[in-house]
């Protein structure tokens, strides 16, 4: 019962915060609400026994990506932003498509059949802690995708510098 109550609070808060984020006029307010949203999502991960990913969520999303967003938001003229309309002319079409997608996927979820459970039970993970169990899978079974991920991050660093640097083309 208490678990359902916790989940109900977090689900409600996440839904409301997500709606608040995308409807604010002032982008700085959006970023601030999104910080709160990411902390709620991290709490939901803790609830699902994924403590390492909860920490990564707070560090990478709240600490890294949101600061980047805040940095870019400062480019926007907030006074002009408050004056003009938030949504594009076809905003109603976007709403229709989003609701249609929601309904279709919710209907598709009813025919979901779970796979047989794997070997990583709570007791197994508790024995060697979440981070160690995760690391063992990541550095053996997923070593190759892990290397590709590091390459993607390298390309992103170089690409961001090339795109944002002034007068690189001479």
């Amino acid at each position: 019962m208490i678990q359902q109550a916790f989940f109900a609070y977090f689900a409600f808060a996440i839904t409301v915060l997500a709606l608040v984020v995308i409807t604010r006029k002032n982008p700085i307010h959006s970023v601030a609400w999104m910080l709160l949203l990411f902390f709620h999502i991290a709490a939901l991960y803790l609830f699902l026994n994924a403590e390492f990913l909860a920490a990564v969520q707070v560090i990478v999303y709240a600490g890294g990506i949101l600061v980047l967003f805040l940095f870019a938001v400062l480019l926007v003229n907030v006074r002009e932003e408050m004056r003009i309309s938030r949504f594009i002319g076809a905003g109603a079409a976007g709403f229709t498509f989003a609701v249609g997608l929601l309904v279709v996927v919710l209907m598709a979820l009813r025919s979901f059949i779970a796979a047989p459970p794997g070997m990583y039970t709570i007791e197994h993970i508790q024995q060697e802690t979440n981070a160690i169990a995760l690391g063992k899978v990541l550095y053996t079974e997923f070593l190759y995708p892990f290397e590709i991920t590091s390459l993607i991050l390298l390309v992103a660093i170089i690409g961001a510098i090339v795109l944002a640097k002034k007068g690189l083309r001479g």
Partner: protein, 100 residues
Amino acid sequence: MVPLSWYMVLSVIVFAIGVFGFLSRRNVILMFMSIELMLNGVNINLIALSHYLQDLRGQILAFFVIAVAAAEAAIGLAIVIALFRNKATAHVDDVKELRG
């Protein structure tokens, strides 16, 4: 015990809100934030499945999604800065030509 389907419904709702924001906001930065919202919806689903199916691979996939989201945010915001330098705008409907 919270049933798995509740988490899946929550993840679909967050994803749909992200789709709505991406399709209808005028500001490019808000569109990028909507993409992050969609990726977070997917992450909720992956981690819930990882817990309920007792398989760590869902968490690994969520880990990769976070890495790709960081790369995407860096590149996307660099594009916003380049756009702002050329056009002095962050609104999608002010950008009408491919020539920079």
